[in-house]
Subunit: 341 residues, 2 copies
């Protein structure tokens, strides 16, 4: 039973050489002769040597880990973003530590602190709905932990960003409904604090305006866009004095539960009310009718986020130029909004 705790000193002793040479050999330094390297490798194998990553990290003050904090790993957009991040990171020799804030500010704060304390080399985050202050992110960059924000905007000046063009998303989604003949379109929006929702709302407004439709304050319904919200939102829609013929929901989850509830009440989708969501959850293609939506290409965003962060980690010297990449969402038309064939 080989002992887990073989160190470079054990190898050095066994071969009668110095541990620094062993260390260099194992790191394939050209300061060690090939012959010695081979001897050392062989002995290392024989003794079942495993580098102690903690010691190595401490000395190098670098961990080759990057931290990822997302609101919920179960959301399709986030899990595909994570896959994208991992793909790039693994290729470059970095490990990814995944955490979920569950949309709670306190958890997010703790996670940031823990990850930084564990000396991740960089941080990729999509901030929680509850997050109103960015104190926990201030100064991280300067203290050697570059931060990259993706998906959800954040007003800090420091970090780089990989964002979706939510304005365009809102504009395209709304325009699509209008093109299907809708004239009284309600918008389900999310917490004011999140810029994504503001931007989607602005896109909605712009589309209305462009097509000569009036914007009505009472057509914008706010909530946290969870499953339970969809039910109450749809009730509110039915209670409106005007007859509604279209809904643009800022996410799929609320759109779906609203649609279910409307169907239960005898509303026909899309004939009576056409619906479009946002995010392209896998469930959306499967429900009946299938839900039109805006795809956020999570995997691509993840890849870009990781690429940008790794660039930042490597060029720590040439910092200061904040980069922001904006990705276009894609309209996916399904049955929930097809009023015209």
């Amino acid at each position: 039973m080989e002992n887990n705790s073989t160190t470079i000193h054990d190898i050095a002793k066994a071969l009668g050489i110095d541990s620094s040479t062993v260390s260099r050999a194992l790191n394939n330094s050209n300061r060690v002769s090939i012959k010695t390297k081979q001897k050392i490798l062989a002995k290392a194998n024989e003794l079942g040597y495993q580098r102690n990553v903690l010691a190595s990290n401490l000395r190098k003050s670098r961990t080759n880990n990057i931290g990822v904090i997302v609101p919920r790993i179960s959301r399709h957009f986030f899990s595909s973003a994570i896959s994208g991040i991992e793909e790039i990171a693994f290729k470059e020799g970095y490990n990814v530590i995944i955490c979920q804030s569950l949309e709670q500010f306190e958890r997010e704060q703790n996670l940031v602190q823990t990850l930084v304390a564990n000396r991740v080399d960089g941080l990729i985050m999509s901030i929680s709905m509850e997050t109103l202050s960015y104190k926990h992110l201030e100064g991280l960059d300067k203290h050697g932990t570059p931060v990259l924000i993706f998906d959800r905007h954040c007003d800090l000046p420091g970090p780089n960003n990989v964002l979706l063009d939510d304005f365009k998303g809102g504009f395209d989604a709304t325009s699509h409904l209008i093109s299907q003949g809708c004239t009284h379109i309600v918008h389900f929006s999310g917490p004011d604090s999140l810029r994504v929702y503001k931007n989607r709302l602005e896109g909605y407004k712009a589309a209305l305006e462009k097509h000569g439709l009036p914007f009505r304050e009472n057509f914008v319904l706010n909530s946290r866009l969870m499953t339970e919200d969809g039910v109450s939102l749809s009730e509110k829609v039915l209670a409106l004095p005007e007859k509604i013929d279209g809904i643009f929901s800022a996410n799929d989850v609320a759109a779906i539960s609203a649609m279910q509830n409307l169907k239960k009440k005898g509303v026909r989708i899309p004939e009576d009310i056409a619906i479009i969501g946002f995010s392209n959850e896998p469930i959306s293609s499967v429900i009946e009718p299938s839900l039109s939506t805006m795809d956020q290409s999570g995997s691509e965003m993840g890849k870009l986020a990781a690429t940008l962060l790794l660039k930042q980690i490597k060029n720590r010297a040439s910092e200061k130029k904040v980069e922001t990449i904006i990705i276009n969402p894609t309209l996916i038309v399904r049955n929930s909004s097809k009023k015209k064939s």
Copy 2:
């Protein structure tokens, strides 16, 4: 701009005391007087001290991290299991490092190695479909990294287990179909290598036998149970010489895509064919007709898994008694299987 790199030595120097006293004070040891503790805490705050976790971990050879490897974080069962694990772990001061094998053996191997190299204090795993050998898990226990297997069985003698009673699940699911009047029931099974699928199959057989129905080899269809498999599986069902009136699928994903395809072909669900799945994915309650299924209570399994692992980590002395906890699945009856009102 406080410098990130304040150490206990800086604090010690600033106060003219020894760093060991600072360390003990920060760890709230009773070997330091209250007065000194207060001075130290104050100075630590003033200098913006942050413990260097790497150094601490190295010295203590303990990280307070536990690793979790699951096939896919996007699967509802796994993400709820993870939430359960986190709930318990955080309460006890442990952090959770989440990884996904994507059902690939090589990735699983690498992840295990990386996590162990990073000295996680324990490992919770649900093994991948591709995993046939357990070499990468052998001896981990003995070398100080306790392993806990959940959800998917594994033939290693060492680790503790938190498993579902898949036999009972298969039995109950099949019995339910029979109670609805089905007599020709097909079973969608998963890879032979995974015991869970074997057990569900055995449960299926047992239920047939108990109710005096014949078991037919050709009624068992094997696949990896992905979305694309559901389509081909349903084609096979239609191509069978016998008229099928029930399907018990070993997961929801395959059940759903099969159901979709059958509906497209004009088969009525549940009138012509009743269907029941396994896992209770969120999507299952939303599709049309809603899918009957067996719930695995992921959150509870996660909590139990974490509790058991932490117990193991703490009592490293009194090892050797392997514990296995078996959880019962719950039958959830929805419309896809309701032939009788």
